[in-house]
């Protein structure tokens, strides 16, 4: 018994919250709107916060336990002795999973609090918090799993929650009358399914190769089998281990691309902004979408073995390089796409795709800790930005509401958020209607500013440190990727500057912006907490200033977890493969490189400056054309994935779905199998039973017996004349007959 045995609580607490809110939440909210909302919302928040507290105790436990991974079995799950296949519900508590648990539950708690304010008066208030707890539950399964299969349960679970929450307002239609929200939800599901397919195939291969799906045996086995030049048998085919692992890692990359919205599967994430803003912040920025990065970091041993072996896909590129290039290209192109977005949340969505690209690129280059570091700081500042944008939207809606209904209605009485009021084409999310909000929404403005500057990478905010670490690694390892990422960083600063100018600076371009008001404290306080985290998050892994300092600290480590680098090395070993075998090396400490840091700072400031030059005081009115609109957005043509999705994949899928629905399901299954075969067979048999067996058989026997009796009686009754003398004659003749018989015939 030790504090590790508390680990299952991180699952049980959200589970309890979601069961309670799911079963009784609606009734509680319906009985008393005000106190019911408070109860349901704070219950869900408390459960997530409980998970956060437990994660903190796990952190302390790990530190006192020498950072050794600890396995907490919950129960058995699958046990097939014949195939020697065993998977249990076992949690793996190591530095990597605890880091993720803290991020998920910590940011989750803040967003729960924010959502109590944001979802106020929504008719489905309790459903929302049920889904949020469900998400926290599945996400914690994902990060605390000790095997790929258990991880996959969480993986699919968060996908389901994503679907449910993107389509939370499933009834809303867009200007064309299409059910935009449910379409977006479906799109996310379909795109994620492609990635899930990759993860599934990777799991099959792993099981075939290693005979297990648990992380530790797989990673240990991979290194040992690689040392021993193991050959994997596939029926008649024998493949070397690096070849198999190349396939596995490529498939895992496909999974990560689906979940973490990388090229070519990124298109679902911008559409996912149809969900409520807290969802965008929690799932589609801070936590869920980082699951793909987590998967890559978790599987680091596999990637390192492939990297060391030099195995190539089709002789072109090794999978770690493919990961790095996927990430870098995504970072670059998604940043470009963000230039042309006018929806405040869409800008952030493409920015998320771009930043996820940074993380994936870092993981691909082997900078796993840097990827995790950026994951954490990104979770801070992107959650902050999304919540801030939600606050802006809330304020714009308030302003719009006030124009429509006059003054005096203070604070309460919004009829749902993110609603697209159709009256004058006004859209509370469209940045063209905003402007000058810095004077109307002070807290939101300051916190948003901190988040945006962190995203741009301004010293000394957290985004600077984490992005710098990735850039440093790229600069020393892969020059082309460094150039791409540096350009992406410049683009990031540019679209951030554009957004800041359009939202907070200049003059209000719409009456709604003039009447916008600050959001309630429930919403602004989480913003302040996140702003503090964003500002100080860089301390998690601040680099050493000089090499000498780094060496001194390596020899005399400062306590146990001051730096993420030292903290992370216990679950992300740097593998060095030598002639003798594998040696786990301690990480080389990150040393601040003045060149890279200076360049990165230059790019950030340059991007912001460029944005200021282009957008200063623009657009003047809400319908003025974007200054960039004059330049053809050529990258749309280079990257026609969205078009491919909407022109190619959607009609194809629709046709297939229609074929499935009408032909396969309707004509074949329902009409033919059900109606023709099953129903008609049954009807025929029933008709036979009823008309032939029953009507003619059973009834025939019964009625026949009656009819025969009647007919016989008809004959026999003639003998009953009613004349006593007839009877007497019969008796007499009978007597004579008997007499004759006995006298003459009996002998």
């Amino acid at each position: 018994m030790n504090t590790f045995s508390l680990a299952p609580l991180i699952l049980y607490l959200p589970l309890a919250g979601l069961l309670f809110n799911g079963l009784f939440g609606r009734g509680i909210v319906d009985r008393n709107r005000k106190s019911g909302e408070r109860f349901v919302g704070w219950l869900a928040t408390l459960m997530t916060f409980g998970a956060f507290v437990v994660s903190l105790t796990l952190l302390v436990s790990l530190a006192t336990n020498g950072f050794e991974a600890w396995y907490v079995p919950i129960m058995d799950w699958i046990n097939i002795p014949g195939a020697n296949f065993q998977v249990g519900w076992t949690q793996q508590v190591d530095t990597l999973s605890v880091t993720m648990m803290l991020v998920v539950s910590g940011i989750g708690t803040l967003i729960h609090i924010y959502a109590i304010g944001y979802m106020h008066d929504d008719p489905d208030f309790s459903r929302f918090f049920t889904y949020l707890n469900l998400f926290v539950f599945f996400m914690l399964i994902l990060v605390s799993a000790s095997s790929y299969l258990m991880m996959f349960v969480g993986w699919e679970g968060v996908g389901l929650c994503s679907y449910l929450l993107i389509g939370f307002w499933f009834g809303r239609v867009d200007k064309n009358g299409a059910p935009a929200n449910s379409n977006a939800a479906r799109k996310a599901m379909v795109m994620n399914r492609i990635g899930d397919f990759g993860v599934l195939l990777a799991m099959f291969l792993l099981f075939w190769t290693f005979g297990t799906l648990d992380y530790t045996p797989i990673f240990d086995g991979a290194v040992e089998m690689y040392k021993a030049n193991h050959v994997v048998q596939f029926g008649g085919m024998s493949l070397s281990l690096p070849t198999v692992l190349t396939a596995v890692t490529a498939l895992l990359l496909l999974g990560a691309a689906g979940k973490s919205a990388q090229i070519p599967l990124y298109t679902w994430l911008p559409d996912a902004m149809a969900g409520p803003t807290p969802v965008s912040a929690l799932m589609h920025a801070a936590t869920m979408v980082t699951a793909g990065v987590y998967l890559l970091v978790r599987s680091n041993v596999l990637y390192e073995v492939v990297r060391d072996s030099g195995a190539l896909i089709l002789g072109l590129i090794s999978t770690p390089d493919l990961v790095a290039w996927t990430g870098a290209l995504t970072a670059f192109f998604a940043g470009l796409i963000a230039f042309s977005q006018n929806d405040i949340k869409k800008v952030l969505a493409y920015s998320t795709v771009s930043q996820l690209g940074f993380m994936v690129a870092a993981a691909g280059m082997g900078a796993y800790v840097a990827a995790m570091f950026h994951l954490i700081t990104h979770a801070f500042f992107k959650a902050l930005l999304f919540l801030g944008s939600g606050s802006v939207i809330h304020g714009m809606e308030h302003g719009h509401h006030e124009i429509a209904h006059g003054h005096g209605d203070d604070g309460d009485g919004h009829d749902g958020h993110d609603a697209h009021h159709e009256d004058d084409g006004f859209d509370p999310q469209d940045m063209r209607y905003m402007g000058g909000l810095r004077n109307r929404m002070r807290v939101t403005y300051i916190t948003y500013m901190i988040g945006a500057l962190a995203l741009a990478g301004i010293f000394p905010l957290s985004g600077f440190w984490s992005k710098d670490e990735i850039l440093l690694h790229a600069q020393t390892h892969e020059m082309p990727i460094f150039i791409l990422l540096a350009l992406a960083a410049l683009g990031t600063a540019f679209y951030v500057g554009r957004q800041l100018i359009m939202v907070f600076f200049g003059k209000p371009r719409h009456a709604a912006a003039e009447h916008a008001a600050e959001s309630p404290a429930l919403m602004t306080r989480p913003l302040i907490v996140l702003a503090v985290l964003t500002a100080l998050g860089g301390l998690l892994n601040a680099p050493y200033l000089t090499k000498a300092m780094a060496e001194r600290n390596e020899m005399h480590p400062r306590g146990f977890w001051f730096l993420l680098e030292q903290w992370g090395e216990h679950s992300i070993p740097a593998i060095h493969l030598t002639e003798e075998g594998v040696v786990h090396m301690p990480h080389t400490p990150v040393v601040l490189s003045p060149v890279v840091a200076g360049l990165s700072m230059l790019l950030a400031v340059g991007g912001l400056l460029l944005a200021w030059l282009v957008y200063r005081g623009r657009p003047r009115t809400w319908d003025e054309a974007d200054r960039l609109a004059r330049t053809p957005i050529w990258w749309w043509n280079i990257l026609p994935l969205n078009t491919f999705y909407s022109r190619g994949l959607v009609p194809l899928f629709n046709r297939f779905a229609a074929w499935s629905a009408f032909k396969l399901d309707g004509e074949f299954w329902h009409d033919f199998i059900h109606d023709r075969v099953i129903r008609d067979m049954f009807v025929t048999f029933a008709a036979f039973s009823s008309n032939v067996l029953d009507a003619q058989g059973v009834d025939g026997v019964v009625n026949g017996a009656g009819a025969v009796t009647r007919r016989l009686a008809g004959v026999l009754r003639l003998t009953q004349t009613g004349y006593a003398r007839t009877y007497a004659l019969a008796v007499f003749l009978g007597a004579v007959g008997l007499l004759v018989y006995f006298l003459f015939m009996a002998n």
Partner: protein, 103 residues
């Protein structure tokens, strides 16, 4: 000992009486006549019993006749009561009119 009458005469007489009785039952419609005919048949049987008892020197036949007479008396008592009852309801003792059990 008077000269014994040949047994065949008794048998012939008994047969004639029985045939008369049977024809009476079958042909006549008056219930009273019917009863009388039945008595005639019974008594033809009695005659035969007595004749054979004497002829064979066995008293069993004699005893049986008493039983027959007793039963006949009881039968007449019941039968006459029935006829009286029928007459009261139908004002007739024609047995052809009593045909309620006609099929």
């Amino acid at each position: 000992m008077p000269s014994a009458v040949d047994i065949n005469w008794y048998i012939a007489l008994s047969g004639i009486l029985f045939v008369i009785g049977a024809l009476g039952v079958l042909l006549r419609r008056n219930a009273i006549i019917l009863f009388m005919s039945i008595e005639l048949m019974l008594n033809s049987a009695n005659l035969l019993f007595v004749a054979f008892a004497r002829h064979l020197g066995d008293l069993d036949g004699q005893v049986l006749v008493f039983f027959v007479i007793t039963v006949a008396a009881a039968e007449v008592a019941v039968g006459l009561a029935l006829i009286v009852a029928i007459f009261r309801t139908r004002k007739s003792i024609n047995i052809d009119e009593i045909n309620l059990l006609k099929g």
